[in-house]
Symmetry: C2
Subunit: 157 residues, 2 copies
Amino acid sequence: MRRVSSPRIPHADPSAQRAECAEPADRPRRRNRTVQRERLLEMLRSTDTHPTAADLFEGLRGEFPRLSLGTVYRNLEVLVCEGTVEQVPSQSGVMRYDGNPQPHHHFVCDACGDIRDLDIQLPSALTTRLQRRYKLRADRVRVDFFGLCETCSDRDS
Amino acid sequence: MRRVSSPRIPHADPSAQRAECAEPADRPRRRNRTVQRERLLEMLRSTDTHPTAADLFEGLRGEFPRLSLGTVYRNLEVLVCEGTVEQVPSQSGVMRYDGNPQPHHHFVCDACGDIRDLDIQLPSALTTRLQRRYKLRADRVRVDFFGLCETCSDRDS
DNA sequence: AGCTAAATCGAGAATGATTCCTGATTTAGG
DNA sequence: CCTAAATCAGGAATCATTCTCGATTTAGCT
């Protein structure tokens, strides 16, 4: 059976690629489309809980009974290199992954460790000041607030 | 020989203790003063490179030839629990440690991974807004700027 | 100064997250 | 269809971190 050719849907602007993922400019690496990677990205985009690789593995096992944890890590790396997905190092040391393409910041609960998305704008004056005072050109900012989330705060008091 | 009693120099305000380090309020844990821990803290305070446990281990081997890596981790945990030292999860996943007691923020170089201290004030309006919009009470904020440090920026261009 | 209990140590084993290796399978592109 | 490159699953290897245990050191007492 002949498969109708569907257009290549790039995951993200390749200019967003991270430095350590650089590939030779003359012969760019060819990427095969795989169901595993597509579903992984969908799963990441459909949540805001910043899952770990193990979480994603668990979530996909039903769909792919033979899925391997290595496959999850390998594909996460691809998505991170593309700039489609962001790595969020957590206080516990376990890496978390963020499929929210919008620039945004986080609130981290000290008690339960949950990471919650915020959309608070950082005054652009901050980066200007940074550039003037330190001669540092920052192209991204990450803000993490720490404290107790509503649930944990209620439980404690 | 009689040792002149020297006053207990607490490393930090115990109220800064982290939740997961809680000890029974009725019988607080006794702490022995050890040279290893004192030197570890000194080393952390004398640098702003945010060393890893392995870095600190290497730095102290000359002084304590029998030092064990486990001892470094154990003491880092004590200092973190006291609130004297802060854990800084890094993009690579390896934990880094910060002995700077002042609240401050960081610039992380994408190329070399170095973490540099900044003293930029975050407008307090941000936390107020956070509280109003999300009902979240944040008691700490961490801001990380990402980009190329001066050295790496010069090398690339 | 000596005594005891608790704290800490060093060495190494155990754990847990992540990466790497290998041979089999799948995809893209003629 | 054919081929080369990419990706897969499974499992071994690596690396950071934690745990265990017997030996040593400290604090606080007498």
